[in-house]
Amino acid sequence: MSERDLLKLSDVTVEYALEHGVRKASDGVSLRIPSRGFTLGIVGESGSGKTTLGLLMMNLIEPPGRITRGKIEYQGRDILGMNRDQLRRYRWQEVAMVYQSAMNSLNPVKSVSSHIVEVLREHSDISKTEAREKAIKLLSSVGIKEERADAYSHELSGGMRQRAVIAMALALSPKLLIADEPTSALDVVVQKQILALLRKEVIEKDLSLVFITHEIALLGDLVDNVAVLFAGEIVESGEIDDILFDPMHPYTESLLGSLLSLESTREMIQTVPALTKEARVVPEVGCKFANRCRYAFARCRVERPLLKESSNGRLVACHKYS
């Protein structure tokens, strides 16, 4: 049974019914988390469908969103067909998620430890005292001392709240953790602490991690693999160093080109062209990136490139390579 992927999405499409028409937040996405300890970064700009992908893995797409195509399997079991009880066990115990701005959704009239106690008691048959002991242990593993365990969320800093939320997600020792922009509102030093904490969990517990972010520069210190998302499609995926230092897809290239880092110079930033109105339109036919692509040729306007293995064995959805 070792052949089975931990999590596998096959050709999944999610449509959101909006006032004016339908929008595909996820458009024929296939990806694999082959085993435990596998770390994947999902990167893309706002509106590219990153969060939808995270929610899909939890089977949490709700109306007006609808899964119109595809299959999601966890260790070979179809999660879209699970009943309530099965889903209850699947979420938290198998796969847990740290939602975007989760640190601001802690219950203000409950202490942080009691959030974790509740999760533990809801999903396993343990006494209050045992649950509390375990909660304190979990909090201390993320650097929150016992004396702060009974603090309320408003008494904690943003970084501490985020760590408490991570402790909560890890409460039932899931095999896969999905973290959706967990550091976007935090200062750099705190951000680095959160990344170090996640890395520690990956190493110590053989945890699989899906880290969703719009900042590609964060991924280097954290994950081994990256999937680049554009307009609901994975346009390129592969090993982190390949993606960061030898990008194949023109979108990945532009993402790295517009990266603001300590290595950037004034000259570099002044050569980045502004997006025109035309470029911002995602074409209905052909490659979705064609309007923004400086390599686009005739074929790109008529035929949508699929994510497939190129000659060097890497996965990319671009006609340049076929």
Binding site: G143, V188, A196, L197, S258, L260, S261, L262, V272, A274
Partner: protein, 347 residues
């Protein structure tokens, strides 16, 4: 630029702002009856100058007091004590016509481009109001020409955006409209508070490059408030670092980022994400030390504010508060054990 040239250029450029011993205290009631008052020292004894035509970055984490300083400079927040002089006159004493005059010369661009435009005004109206109010322009044709000119200047096509409302614009376009609005009264100084934080990566660089070009073309003095050292690096001539309401280091950006004197500057520099290859990464190393120092900024009664988190602290750090002193030419730091200083002098 060498140190000597730098000092020369500082001599040429006079101080436009002189901030001295600025203190801002926020009072916060506690308990149902708010009988117990707690005070938050948002800005604590901060002094610095802003030179004419320079771009100064003020860097710090959230809560470090950088936005409060910007608001004081604008006359939007009231200092508890200390002074801010602009071109020789005290900002907090300005009122009525004089304050309006001041706002003609100093304008601000805010962090959130979505919140800082009136959703019920189209671009034309948004820009024509400050033109009419602040430059007292009455002629409709002239106002309309000026609106178009401002839009071109921020690289927006008036034909396309003139009659659009904020919700019809992208984040980057909105921020451009905000910049155009700030430029309308033809100011000398632009204070930009985290102007790119809320934007997508693809638009961030364009906004920064726009600001750099405007600085040159309009000979603006720009104060950039940011939490991001990378923007400070490409944008600014000088950088000031804030921590817990204190100015802990100020100096030429290049020196400060290559050889920071203050341990806090060193810390944020090392925490700023970089693209590194796998072999150069230190993923497994140093994690325990990062997690060990995980407790975040906390208030101290005496001594250096950064001491609880500082890996270089010595006995004196808990006893006396370090003053902001010149550690090398035009580079000041508030630290008893300033880094790199000896090395610099011997080299």
């Amino acid at each position: 630029m060498s140190q000597v040239q730098l000092i020369e250029s500082e001599r040429r450029n006079r101080a436009l702002y002189e901030v001295r011993n600025l203190d801002v205290i926020f009072k916060r009631g506690r308990g149902i009856l708010r009988r117990k008052e707690s005070v938050v020292h948002a800005v604590d004894d901060v002094s610095f100058d802003v030179y004419e035509s320079e771009l100064l970055s003020i860097v710090g984490e959230s809560g470090s007091g950088k936005t409060t300083i910007a608001r004081c400079l604008m006359g939007l927040a009231v200092a508890s004590s200390g002074s801010i002089r602009f071109d020789g006159s005290e900002v907090s004493k300005l009122s009525g016509r004089k304050l309006l005059d001041y706002w003609r010369r100093v304008q601000m661009v805010f962090q959130d481009p979505f919140e800082s435009l009136n959703p019920r005004l189209d671009v034309f109206t948004t820009l024509s109001i400050p033109l009419q109010r602040l430059s007292r322009e009455k002629d409709k044709k002239k106002v309309s020409d000026e609106v178009s000119r401002l839009l071109w200047e921020v690289r927006l096509d008036p034909g396309e955006v003139l009659h659009k409302f904020p919700h019809q614009l992208s984040g980057g376009e909105r921020q451009r409209v905000n910049i155009a609005k700030a430029l309308a009264p033809n100011p000398k100084v632009l204070i930009a508070d985290e102007p790119i934080t809320m934007l997508d990566a693809s638009q961030r660089l364009n906004i920064l490059s726009l600001l750099i070009n405007l600085k040159t073309s309009r000979n603006l003095t720009i104060i950039l408030i940011t939490h991001d050292l990378a923007s400070a690096k490409i944008m600014s001539d000088r950088t000031a670092v804030m921590y817990c309401g204190k100015l802990v280091e100020i100096g030429p950006t290049e020196n400060l980022l290559t050889r920071p004197h203050h341990p806090y500057s060193e810390l944020i520099l090392s925490a700023t994400p970089r693209l590194t290859r796998r072999e150069a990464r230190s993923r497994e190393m140093g994690m325990s030390s990062i997690l060990a120092g995980i407790e975040e900024s906390q208030s101290v009664e005496t001594g250096c504010v950064f001491a609880p988190r500082c890996k270089y602290k010595t006995a004196i750090c808990a006893e006396s508060e370090p003053a902001l002193l010149a550690k090398s030419s035009s580079h000041l730091a508030a630290c008893h054990n300033a880094l790199n200083v000896d090395a610099r002098h011997s080299s």
